[in-house]
Amino acid sequence: MVQPLNDMCVIEISDSIAGSACTKTFSDYGARVIKVEPFSGNKIRRMPPFKEDIPDINGGAYHLSFDTGKESVIIDYSSNSGLEILDRLYQLSDLVIFDTEVEKTKKLRNIINGNNYPSTVSITPHGMSGPFKDRLENDMSILAWTTRMYRNSMENMSPLRNAPGSTLVQIGHTAAAVAVGIYWGQKQDKIRRDAEVAGVEAVLGNVDTGFVSWIFTGNLPERIGGQLKTRYPTGIYPCKDGHVILSANEEPWFSRLCNAIGHPEILQDSRFIEDRENNWQAFMEYLGPYLEKHDKNYIFTHLQEHGVMVAPVLNASDLLDDPQAKARKSFVKIDSAIGEHYLAGAPFHLNKINDESFKLKSAPKLGAHTNMLLNELGYTKEEIIALFRAKITG
């Protein structure tokens, strides 16, 4: 079967997780993705973890996961000679993804001129304009601008980030969406487009922020940790062998839960009908023993049979053996620079589950495709040597 994006060529000029995360999905669904890297390699090649904790420019977990199937070329585009190569590369492609400093992106984008060139997406922390456009940010500092860190904390304790790198992945993933959107648009109307994804705006404008709720109510998000004791049971609850997360404070889930744990009388109890928000402790006299008695996987299957929204809190060691992941082959064994290892598989399945529209191929070694690409761009053998000798390519 032909992969859905097999006739598409994407250039990635990136120096953070976001750009790499953006182009990964294009690559896995068949697009040719050419990753332009500096001599030192894209930053994600240096992101841990590494196998046996030995740093390896071709063996970092982020690189192995996010650069699947891409071609790696080393070009020093700070020089005119490097820019000339990029110009040829642009004309070969359908889409260019930039994830570099604002001024650098502007310079790299300026080469593009006319509808024969591809559409572009520029990823930056604050956007290409405005007083903060040149600010230095990282994964955590961008999240700090979005109200999500503030909410992820308890009163008078430090706000908390999400998993390292996850904010930049979200930004890159957002960029992938607009990228495929403008690619579609250009296919339809032949109009070349330049999209801009400002990381702060991309996260702040999406959901799970408190901004709109505050506008509506004037109330700040509650910073009370994992258990809402006025609207319960919602949040993290300990059980026999770990924790589960419940979302059963509203109907019909509350009634289903009470029935499932064998206490339908809660539903007739005036404490929970008229004054539920002040009776969490009383409610836990019913729920607590049930949770203490059962392990997380039993609770998951038992309460779900009653239609209750509950899930076990899993850790890394649980993932590969998770029954659902095994049934759907959600993790795929792949052979790469560190030997055989597992990566997450398809984020969505076209036609039927695990068909060939999605393919994971190993991530490239740094600069593995430079010479092949220069040949393809029409450089002669002598020109290729000249560029290599002048440290323009590698």
Binding site: P4, D7, A21, E52, A61, S65, G127, G130, R135, L136, M140, S141, A144, T146, T147, M149, E155, S158, P159, A163, T174, V180, W184, G185, Q186, I191, A195, E196, V197, E201, V203, G205, N206, V207, D208, T209, G210, W214, F216, L220, G225, G226, P238, V244, I245, S247, A311, V313, L314, N315, A316, S317, L319, I338, Y342, L343, G345, F348, H349, I353
Partner: protein, 414 residues
């Protein structure tokens, strides 16, 4: 206004909560004609009929004033149809006839029971892309299980490494990361299928497990286990390889600032600002990365001595001017204070019948030469029933009959 990228596409969205609705709004932002099919007469999760924490006070139906609903439903038209009724099915079949994408968010098997599984839909419109976004997908032992984004987050391993390192795990705030990223996944899936349709000249069905759409985004969690047989620990805001990298108090009570210096240049800038220039001397133990990793506690204390003299915005400004990573940890009201967001006209003001003019969050992206705009404020339930039914060829009397027999509606009972 120039053409928009997705102009000409017709999207039917039959989802609740956030991931599906937000995806459809993003398509609407880019010019698609998005029709939200609201559950009727049952109201959806984000359409509460009695006031709750996210309800704007005031007049009008409660279900029209919920912030959680408004966050995910701009730039759509709205129909409220009871598709359990034959007359409702008839309307939906007509909607499907020329639709490009149908996104549905029911638990596995439900849409088939309603008569609109893929086998049925492709007979009505062989060119359509249908996407099912059940939490764990349509196949496998969890296919019937129900969840919100927080449950998906918990089962990817993400939740297990969040929270205070020394604190009780139950103090970790659940989050809904999968909703935010899920919208982009659905968007990408839809466009990928449409691009395939161009080649294969036929529609596609997509089984999109929101769990699978999320789990690939945390490569380090899986790799720590598969590469090194380690379970990632809760680190709070620390980074084991970068010092400083943390959140610090400011002069304002319970207000905070992020500060990090990832290399020697940023360290130089930081030391100049916090009055520790001697820490950059070549012979000083903190002048290099290895020394700083050993001195995290002392360095953090010195930074906090500085940040506690200022509010977060001011401290961040000073540090950024000296090339240091720094940002205030903003609260919702702070979002209104950002010069950057105002300069870029990010905030949007929309006028809604029951909330009045409100300032809301802006777009996730900008596109030139297209002009993104919030053309349609979050629609009222059934607001476009007549408009769309007329487009489908139903006459006034028939539409009145549909209201009378409860096939369509424009309000919920409390």
């Amino acid at each position: 206004m120039s053409n928009k990228s997705l102009e000409g596409l017709k999207i039917l969205e039959m989802t609740e909560a956030w991931a599906g609705p937000v995806c459809a709004s993003l398509m609407g932002d880019m010019g698609a004609d998005v029709i939200k099919i609201e559950s009727f007469p049952r109201h959806s999760l984000t359409r509460p009929t009695s006031p709750r924490y996210a309800t704007m006070p005031g007049e009008g139906p409660v279900y029209e004033r919920d912030a959680l609903h408004h966050q995910g439903n701009r730039n759509k038209r709205n129909m409220a149809i009871d598709i359990r009724k034959e007359s409702g099915k008839e309307i939906f079949k007509k909607l499907l006839l020329d639709a490009d994408v149908f996104i549905e968010g029911y638990a596995a098997g439900k849409i088939e029971k309603l008569g609109f599984g893929w086998q049925d839909v492709q007979k009505i419109n062989p060119n359509i892309t249908m996407i099912s976004i059940a939490g764990w997908g349509l196949e496998g032992p969890y296919k019937n299980m129900v969840t919100l984004g927080a449950g998906l987050d918990a089962t990817t391993g993400h939740l297990s490494l969040r929270g205070y390192p020394q604190g009780d795990f139950v103090d970790t705030h659940p989050n809904f990361h999968s909703d935010a990223t899920g919208s982009s996944t659905i968007f990408f899936a839809a466009l990928t299928a449409l691009l395939q349709r161009k080649k294969e000249k036929k529609g596609t069905f997509i089984d999109l497990s929101q769990w699978e759409g999320l789990v690939w985004q945390f490569p380090a969690i899986l790799a720590e286990w598969t590469m090194n047989k380690r379970i990632p620990e809760r680190l709070g805001n620390n980074d084991p390889h970068i010092v400083p990298h943390g959140v610090y108090r400011t002069i304002e009570e319970d207000k905070w600032i992020v500060v990090a210096a990832e290399d020697d240049n940023q360290w130089q800038g930081l030391c100049e600002v916090i009055g520790k220039i001697e820490w950059t001397d070549l012979m000083h133990q903190y002048s290099n990365i290895v020394g700083r990793i050993k001195g995290r506690t002392e360095i953090d204390a010195a930074i906090e001595s500085f940040t506690k003299q200022y509010d977060g915005f001011t401290a961040a400004e000073i540090l950024q001017n000296n090339h240091v990573i720094a940002s205030p940890v903003v609260t919702p009201p702070d979002v209104l204070l950002s010069n950057q967001l105002h300069e870029r006209d990010w905030h949007q003001t929309v006028n809604h019948k029951w909330t009045g003019p409100i300032m809301v969050g802006g777009h996730l992206w900008n596109v030139e030469p297209d002009t993104l705009s919030w053309d349609i404020p979050t629609a009222l339930v059934g607001q476009h029933n007549e408009e769309i039914l007329t487009e489908l060829g139903f006459d006034h009397d028939y539409i009145s009959a549909l209201y009378a027999n409860g096939t369509i509606g424009n309000h919920y009972e409390n």
